[in-house]
Structure formats: structure tokens, C-alpha cells
Symmetry: C2
Subunit: 469 residues, 2 copies
Amino acid sequence: MSTFVVVGGDAAGMSAASKAKRENPDLDVVVFEQGEWVSYGACGLPYYIKGEIQSLEDLVSVTPEQFREEREIDLRTGHEVVDIDPDQQTVIAQHEAGEVVQPYDHLLIATGAATVTPPIGGFDKEGVYTLGSMSDGKDLREYVARSREDQDLQQPDRGPACQFLETCSGPVGIVGGGYIGVEMAEALAANDFEVHLFQRGDRILTSFSEATSEAVLDHLDEQDVAVYLNAEVTSFDGDNAVEAVVTNEDHVPVEMVLVGTGVRPRTALAEDAGVELGPTGAIATDSYRETNLPSVYAAGDCAETQHVVTGEPVYIPLALTANRHGRAIGQTVTGERTEGGGVAGTAAVKAFDVEAARTGILNHETAQAAGFDPLTETIDANSRAGYYPEGGTVRVTLTIDRPSGRVLGGSLVSEYGEGAVHRSHALVGAVTEGVSVEDFANYDLAYAPPFNTTWDPVLTAAKVVERRR
Amino acid sequence: MSTFVVVGGDAAGMSAASKAKRENPDLDVVVFEQGEWVSYGACGLPYYIKGEIQSLEDLVSVTPEQFREEREIDLRTGHEVVDIDPDQQTVIAQHEAGEVVQPYDHLLIATGAATVTPPIGGFDKEGVYTLGSMSDGKDLREYVARSREDQDLQQPDRGPACQFLETCSGPVGIVGGGYIGVEMAEALAANDFEVHLFQRGDRILTSFSEATSEAVLDHLDEQDVAVYLNAEVTSFDGDNAVEAVVTNEDHVPVEMVLVGTGVRPRTALAEDAGVELGPTGAIATDSYRETNLPSVYAAGDCAETQHVVTGEPVYIPLALTANRHGRAIGQTVTGERTEGGGVAGTAAVKAFDVEAARTGILNHETAQAAGFDPLTETIDANSRAGYYPEGGTVRVTLTIDRPSGRVLGGSLVSEYGEGAVHRSHALVGAVTEGVSVEDFANYDLAYAPPFNTTWDPVLTAAKVVERRR
């Protein structure tokens, strides 16, 4: 009987384990997870902290018991894999009561990513948080709950964002203007905190188009989030607890700070076993997610993947890719060799009352490095028929390759509910299939007055950029 | 100097005229429109009748004055073209004050469609309406307004749908369960009419999947619309005014009836000139929308087009196609020969608090006739992350070709605002590009908890149908 061992029990690991067991019930599937949580929706943590989700358990899609009893997966939580021996085809896992040596026929390394700890003085002070795990989420929720209790007692008025509010906590700082930073700004402001967001570069959401970044920035401003661009955070001031964020230009008093400056792949275990990393610093794999070691796979936030436009390796750790690649590996190890597909770098974010999505290649230097001659246009269009009583504006950025007309990437932003994110689905196909903007502009997309204009905004954008070629 | 003559001043005609003039300002562009309205959003009429749009003028995207003054198009409203002489390259138009003979170098026939008048006795009675023009819309709005005035005076309780309402008018009948029927059911019910909808076949919205039809039917039922399936309407009873809809099974008292049983292309003028029709009964064109007569084009609701999946001629008269083909013709006649693309048969509809979209080929007989071996699956999935506080259900139907896996078509339905329509954008690309369901399931679609599950419902549907192959 064959054994499939998985290291790491989140999206990639549990998708692979479930798929493999489903395809071949005779396969022994063993999963080692060092923590207690498996298969959890980390993307939901900001909404848990915000208070819209009542329990951490709600973020768990399948419980450990369900994996064990219903799916018959030998899931061992509290087990840290400390060594892989590819010659013997064994892993060594440590747990409370000792150590176990587990042989494998196929191995999946799905060790995930760790939050980046930037070189900021005072990082270890009380009141400095990151958001990389369920327990981080728990800590932040508890902080919010404590603060709300305090403010209910005191009702202070501590800053400009609070002047129209009955109660206001904080001020609090967020370092980093990516997804986590923006989502946490919403979560904290919804709890009446005065929010200060520090971003190193000259715009937030840097993977989106400049026009999208600008629209979200304007909206954060409307929501009384103080955004500091070009802010190099040098230290967190205070005695035991953080009392201020110090940047190259400012000294901003805060009672708490969340650092969300990205993640790096957890690769130490793999490297020690002789698994090669790729140019991005994440584990290198082929299109079947197999590493340089035979029968050793890697997927999820510890691995790199290939971009559908350039074919080049990229490190874009997101939930769908982890699920998809895990599932493909589950099929492969049970006999049906399956590619899980590349990534288009698609991402979506909600920020208060706006939504945004991006896909493909928007950055001109990246496009040029891949041999394209990029051209970018941005349009603003009605999200629904102009005469329809509801509606707003969708801003669409398209980047194409000028000579061929190929759609390289797109970025959209609209009011929440006006469809920027779901409309991006149209662009993912175009980017993935290498469709020209001319052909794309002729797509027979759905139209009715409550949903769009006759030419959906993505088609209008295509017409405009096509005319500029 | 060259002259481009357009017959018909709605979507196809005005798009062609505008594009041609924009590309070549030296071109003489003459448009003959027999009515007074041009470039109007007929798709908005149900919302005007509902009362959500205050004025008919709001449906007009560009006024006749703007076409004349800003776009320098020689637009002649109140001019009916009665003859085309392709040998002389002239058209004859009649107007109040006489007749004009207009030479052309390029001619576009964009005469649109007329509402079908089914063989129902008593069709000419007072209170029987169709909805094919702006003046039809005006008449219906006036009817609604009169009834509301009456009910404000009387406050009668006339039927089951009214029992929980303060006031109720009607009852009214709708013949036909297509877009118009469903949208008008919403418009009339919103005005407190008791609505009876008669559908000849065994389901409404027959171009959508059975699962979509069923969901919308259930919703109409929740909204107290009485739907009569398999109802063959034989006559409208009454003296001068309609008093009842008579079917093979029922005799339903009504005060008004709207007949929305489809449209047929207006082809008489073209036929008289020797323009050939295609197998669908609409004007045949090549991929440049040129007819059998040189320099004579046809587009919009009078013309057939090619289906992107089968390549076969189809008659699917919808607004985007008219706009797109008009625009392409405008480019072609100014020197840049341009194909406007085929159609995927994409359509969207809002029905009270649900939304639905469809694209491609869903009908198994149609698929088989085109050489495919169709397989259809339907799934219900959460529209957002299960733990996210908002959200509903998206029902997705996918039809694929079993041997190749090619995505042939899809149909979606969800609560209004839960994204069935915009999500269909993903399927249009797959259908148009001939993508296999296996590749489609690997698309890197946008994900974040406020917008979908990690696997968007369209991807989940793809996984499910792929597994069934």
C-alpha cells in the first residue's frame, strides 16, 4: 500500500490530501500540521477582527475531526516535521510525546509562508501585531474587544477622525498598504479606531494599476483613514508598549500597530532536504508542482509558480492557487498526472465601500522584460445604464502589447456592489488565452440595464486602448 | 465626396453613422429614420413603465440635435425609406412634405425588428399592448398611471396577490415568458397590479438552462405572479376592451394584457431590393455584415449573424450586437475593413430580486446538430465566503462537449446583487475561445471573501462537470 505524506495542513496540503484520498481510497494519506488549525480561511481574518464573523471556528471549512472521520485522512496536528530524508523517503515529525519517522511514496511540502518582519526598531514592543495566523487573528480580535470595552467606559475624543463619532479608540497604526493593510484599515475603522496607515512607496495597492490605487486612496481619505505615503517606518517608540510610529518624516502617536508588509515562503525544511529554490526565493517546481527531488511536490505559499502571460516563475501566494495546485497534486499522486495551471496574478480586495481587482501584467518594466511593448489606458464608465436608478462608476485600466494587441493585464475599481471584481473575470480569460484587445472588444458579454451599459465598461476600455494603438 | 446612407436610426444605424463620421469627417453621412426617436435604449422601457425612470427622453443616449450639430450627421427623422435601387445606388425616402432620392456609395440597412403578433383572437381590442417601440412604452406608462389614479380613489381588493397590499390594480395578463414578459411582470407588480403570466411551453426563459428557468419561476411565485405554463392563449375576451385571457385551459379575467412573444426582423425593404435572407429569415451577411449586394450592409435586429461556437447563422437580436456591428461597418466603409465578431447568444435579465445570465449553447439538440456530444451539470454554490455576513446562492449550469471537454455554454442565476450576470463574463470568454473545461477550471479568477468562495462558483461548476466526463 502506497503512502502520501503532506507537510502542512492548510489550503494546499488539505486540498491535496482530500483529492488523493477521494481518487484512491486505498492510499494512506498522512498530514502533519504543527499547529492545531487546519484548512482555515486566513482571508477571513480581517472580517473576524472587524466583528462581522463571530467565531474563529467559522473560518474553518472542514474540521480536523471531519478530515479524520469522514475523509479518512490520518491528520496529525501538533506535529512539526523537522527533517526530510529523500534517499530513505522518510520524514521525521516531532510532537509533544516524542518523535515519529514516517515513510512516504509521495511527499507534498506545503509549509506556507511567514509574515515578513521588516527592520523596524521596537518591533518586539507590546501592542505590535502581525496577521499571519489564526492565533494572530485571535490576539487582534481580543485587542479590539478590550479597546471597545475601555471606550465604552471613557468615551474620549482622541483625534480628527473621531470628531463626528460618538466614541473613538486608538489612534492605531498600520504599516503596509497592501491587501492586509487596506482590509485591516476597514476592520479597525469600523470599530471606531482612528487609523493611520504608513506606506513606503508613493501609492497603496502597488500591484494594481495607478488609477486603481488612486481611487482606493481617495476613498480611504473619505473614510478618515490618514494615509502616509513615502513613509519609511524606522521605529516604534514607547517604553514597554508601543506609543508612536516613527517615520523619516513623522512621529505619530498610536496605541497599537499592525505590520502587514508581506510574507516570505517557509523553505528551510525543504532546503535542508536538498529541494531547490527558484529565482523568487520560493520552492521551484515544474508545471506538475514537482520539485527537483523525485516524488517530492511543493504547493501553496511556500512555492513559486508560472505566470500565464510570461511563463516565468513568480511568487504570488494566494488562496486559490494553493487550493488548485493541491488538488492537482492529489490527482497526480493517484495516477492521473495533472497540471494545476499557472497564475495570472489575479487579486481582489474590498476597502470600505469600494472594491478592486487586478489580473495579468500591469507594470511596464515587467512587460518590457518579457518582450512586450506595453500600452496602458484607463477609463471611467457608468456601472449600469445611465438612466437606471442605481449605479456608480467602474474605472478600468487595461494594459496591452502595442504591436500584437494582446491583452496583458487589467485593473478595476468601483463602488462596492458595482461589479469591479466580478467583471475582472472577463479579463482573466483574455489574459490567460492571449486574446487581442480587438477580439476582446468584440466579446458578446451579457448586457441589461440593471447590470451595465450596452458595452460593458471592460469592452469600452478595450475600444479606447485599441484606438490608441 | 463619398456618401454613406443609413436606413434606421437606432443602435446599429447610429453606431455606424457615428463611427464612420468620426473616422472620416469628410464622408457625407445621411440617416433616414421613419420615427422621431433615434438611438434610444429600448431595453430601459420596462423600467420607465415601472416608474424608476421619469422621462422617455432619459432613455435617449444621444439626441437628434446632438447627432446633427455635434457629430455632423445628416439625420432625417420622419423619413421612411420606401425603395432601394442597388443598380443606381439610390434610396427613395418619403416624408411629410414629399419624397427624396438619395444616392449612396455605401448603404446600411438597419431597419430593426417588429413585435410578433401571434394568432390570438381579439388582438385588436382595447387594453391589448405590445412593447416594441418608444410609443408603446409611452402608452403602457400612461395605462399604469391611469390605473394608479383609479386605485387611489377606490382601494379595491381584487385578488389573491393583493391581499397583503394596501392597494391593488389589475388583474393584468402577460403573454410570453421571455425577457420582456419577466421584466414587465416586475414593472407591473411594482405598481401593485395582480399579474398573470401565460407561457406556451413548460418553462419560462427558454433560452436559459432548465435550472435557471426553475429558479426564476420559483421567484416569480414568491412574488405572487401567477404563471400559467403550457398555456396556449387562444383569444382575448371582451366587448371593446379586453376582459379576459382565454387559454386551452383557463379563462382569466384581466383589465389589460401585454403580449411579448418575440420579434421578427423587418426585411421587406431589403427583400424588395434583392437582398437575400438567410435560413433564419433575417438578412444574410458575411462576417463584415455585407449582404449579397455590393456595398450594402445590414446589421442590428433585421440581420442574422454567426454563432461563435458553431459558426452557423443565427438570429439573436440584442443591443450589444447591433452596436458592435454598426461600429464595425462604420470602420469598414471608411477604409478599415473590420469584422464585428459573432455572437455567443449572451443575455441577462433581472426579475424582481433575482438576476440571470446565459451564454453559448445550452440546448442539447442544437449542440448535437453542430456535431457535439453535450453534457450538462448544474451546481448551487455560495456567492461569497460561507462565513462572510452577506451573501446568497449562485446556481451555475455548464454545458460541455464530452469528448473534447470544450465549454459550449453556461447559465447562471442568483439573488440580485450576488453576481450571476457579471460572473457570466468568465464563461463568454471560454465559450468564444473554445476553452476546455479542464483549462477553465484552472483559471486564476479573482477571490476575496466579500465576493466569492476560493473557487468561484463558475470554477466549482467546471470541476463538477469535468469529473462527470
